[in-house]
Amino acid sequence: MDKYYIKYVLGNRLRFIFYFFLIVFFLIILRFFYIQILQNNYYSIQAIDNSIRILPIAPARGLIFDRNNIIIADNKLNYSLEIVPEKIENLSMIVGELNKIVSIEEKDIKKYKRILKNKQFSNSIPIKSNLTIKEAAQFASNSYQFPSIELKETIKRFYPQGSVGVHFIGYINRISKQDLIALERKDLQKNYIGTDHIGKSGVELQYENELHGISGFEQIEVNSIGKPIRVLKTSPAKEGVNIHLTIDLKMQKIAENAFKNKKGALIAINPSNGEILAYVSMPTFNPGFFVDGISHKNWNKLNQSNDKPLLDRAINGLYPPGSTLKPFVAVAALENQLRAPPFKINDPGYFSINNSRRFRDWKIGGHGEVDIIKAIAVSCDTFFYGLAIELGIPRLNKSLANFGFGKKTGIDLPNEKKGLLADAKWKKKKYNEKWYLGETAITGIGQGFTQVTPMQLALATSKIAFPNKSIVPHIKLNSQSLRQNINLTAPLTISEQTIKWVKKGMENVTADGGTAAFIGQNIQYKIAAKTGTSQVFSLKEGEVYDEEKVPDHLKDHALFIAYAPAENPKIAVAIVVENGGHGGSTAGPIAKKIFNYYLTSESH
């Protein structure tokens, strides 16, 4: 091997190295071509994903006030610690560390896991809400230890009145899967990306669109550690509209307190324009339970209670109207030229069809000579049995429908029930049975199949007070726009004479000899009213109702409708006290408290 050999080998091998490197250079160029030209779109999107974040700005929810500017639903600044679930690996470890600074309880973790299971957007989830200022400060000074936990300053719904009026206010809760589907159907889901809560019932649900506002967003550029570098674009949120209600919160509280521990419902309404002044459904619950996501325990307690606190009795409670239906039945008869004074019956204490089946009056021995005015005042069953049979169901129902029975009143609250005006056709369909004449008779005193909501009773009572006005009950103040969307019940075309007789009858209810005579004592104004008692279970023929022997939940419901002052009505009420016994004695005093407040206090 001499050096010429080496030179020869080296020369050849150098050429080999040269071409080898050139090929590698070419491959590198191909690689750059692939990434920069062919994959350009893919990597451009990756670069944007890397650096651009769109942060929603949730609008502040509109507040809810009563008619006198008393706040009912407020927003409160709330500090919470929130976790983005995707960012953490070991929850219990982080919680353990966090616990040294802010106490995290078992229920907080449970709540976190529950929200995590149901969450709809990839928002962060609170691990601890309602931090005190001190706790928030403690966390802030140690936040470097917890890169995956964020101290958030959020606005939280707060109901300063507690459980007062919960059924019409409603409540908000975290957005559920069903809510999201509904939002998507209305194409509103984008507006809710930064929002955690949505109205679930009552005004919070009815006026969700106004209350929610329009969410804004911020487009920011972030660096590799997610730190915002600059804001590229901002579109501020438009906060929700404040809503004023027709409710008089003071009256609401008086009404709720008047129920004490009894179940039932009350509607107080301005009969001339349909404004709801008080809206009670008892028992109540605390709407605040729902804001942070209600716990299973609380939910089960509310949902399974025999008292059904979640049921809004004012528009979803269906009751037989009992004798409170009598003024409306009387109108039906008089308008059909039946039973007009001076027509009288001699009441023996019962009514019999074809001398076979007897229908008892509530008063053993009867009321003696009774015309239609006295029949209302003393609530004479015998008078109305015969009247109903002569009038017949079709004519009766037609007249009752004019008062709004059997259909929705149109109140601006969700899920109203429409009650029931039964007839032969309905019974055939429902039970496949024929209609008996006896059923016509008891329909005349508000028993049988007829079902009404307290809201319907309040509306019908208003129509007695102002037969020429067509009103729609409503809870939002100045909700003019609402009226265009609703099929108004036409003003009643009742003769003045008819209304005069019926009003007279109702006024006599609170006068001496009337069924609620004690209500009319010691007041400066006159109340027109009607008491009612509706049976929870039917007595067998010949059986006598004995209040003492019947268990509480089977006791009769007490009903009461009234308006006052009788000459110039300013307020009408409809009250149901469940298992309250006789209408006048339990429901009547509640109405009187409302009237005393509304008609005698300085402010009115």
Binding site: L14, F21, I28, Q36, S44, S51
Partner: protein
């Protein structure tokens, strides 16, 4: 030959297209550094200083006698080995590896100096044993490679150690190592690779694994690879323009001034810019090989080829690394990345090649 004569001779004879291309890359690299450092002035000034030192060395090397290079060769190797041992014991630690040694005003990186001293040593070694090339000589050359390879590997600096090994093997290959021996060694390597794998540190294993699928661990070892590819890919054909690279400005790219300097360039100047720069490098590579082929003696040819391979292997590894072909091993791009030692070593390498070319008949005679 007096100094003036030499000076004029150099300026007349110097390969101007080659030197011009290098200057162009240096200037592009400087502008890129301004963007990569987000317009940090001190770093830019310091790089200008590095370039001045490097060009001065280049000039000095060009004018000295080739025989001096030959006689210095074994000493540079010994000094490099000594420095390596020193740095492994007392070096400055950075990124979990001891690579730098402080020389008062500046730090040097002994593993970089090996890119010159190893080819020097091997070329000298083969020149000395010119008439007795056989297995024993190749084996001894292998030992000369293994010592620095091992010292750099335990720093630990996987990238540079592999580069050193690669350059050494190519020099042995050029020196005439029989092909059958190379084949046997290759299969031997395959057999022993599991043992080599086990001796790697976990972060080195992780890096090699992440190469197979960088997206499997996007926030771990694959992160740098992915971010670099995003920078390249989002640059597209024409780039985002100078100073406008978002990946750089938002700190997604790591080591923007050193290992990933060319990622910044690729994002801002696109595929067209990349093509232009690769063309410049290709031209330099071609000139270097061309000059090597003109040389008369084995020392010059082996040394020149070794230095060329060393420079352009760094180029290949760096571009392969930022485009996701190779794992992230921390090899700078010659003439382009920020860093004094790399800059000076690259320019000295070119200087030696130029010197050997200008004196191509000196040693042979």
């Amino acid at each position: 030959m007096n100094f003036t004569f030499l000076h004029n001779y150099i300026f007349r004879k110097i390969d101007r297209p080659l030197f011009g291309s290098i200057l162009l890359i240096l200037i592009i690299g400087l502008f890129n550094l301004i963007s990569a450092n987000q317009q940090d002035i001190p770093d830019t000034l310091s790089q200008i200083f590095n370039i001045i030192i490097g060009v001065s060395f280049f000039y000095l090397i060009c004018i000295i006698n080739s025989r001096i290079i030959l006689s210095f060769a074994p000493w540079t190797y010994l000094i490099s080995i000594a420095l390596l041992i020193l740095v492994n014991s007392f070096g400055i630690e950075s990124h979990g590896a001891q690579r730098w040694i402080s020389l008062g005003i500046f730090n040097i990186q002994p593993s970089e100096t090996l890119k010159i001293s190893l080819p020097l040593m091997l070329a000298w070694f083969y020149q000395k044993n010119d008439y007795k090339i056989y297995y024993k000589i190749h084996f001894l050359a292998g030992l000369l490679i293994f010592l620095p390879f091992y010292l750099v590997l335990i720093q630990p600096d996987l990238g540079t150690s592999i580069l050193i090994l690669w350059v050494g093997i190519i020099i042995i290959f050029l020196a005439g190592l029989p092909i059958k021996f190379l084949t046997i060694s290759f299969f031997g390597f395959l057999v022993f690779s599991p043992f080599i794998w086990n001796s790697l540190l976990s972060y080195q294993k992780q890096r090699i694994l992440s190469l197979i699928d960088p997206f499997s661990d996007p926030y771990g070892s694959g992160y740098h690879s992915i971010q670099s590819m995003i920078a390249l890919g989002s640059g597209g054909g024409f780039g985002r323009g100078w100073l406008n690279g978002t990946q750089t400005n938002l700190d997604f790219l790591p080591e923007t001034s050193t290992d990933f300097a060319f990622s910044v360039f690729s994002e801002e100047f696109g595929f067209l810019g990349v093509l232009a720069v690769i063309a410049l490098y290709t031209f330099i590579f071609y000139r270097c090989i061309w000059m090597t082929s003109k040389m008369q003696d084995n020392f010059s040819r082996l040394l020149s080829a070794g230095l060329t391979v060393s420079l352009f292997s760094g180029f290949i590894i760096n571009l392969g690394m930022i485009s996701g072909i190779f794992p992230i091993v921390g090899v700078p791009l010659p003439f382009f990345s920020y860093g004094g030692t790399s800059m000076v070593v690259s320019l000295i390498s070119i200087g030696i090649i130029m010197n050997l070319y200008l004196n191509k008949s000196l040693i042979a005679n």
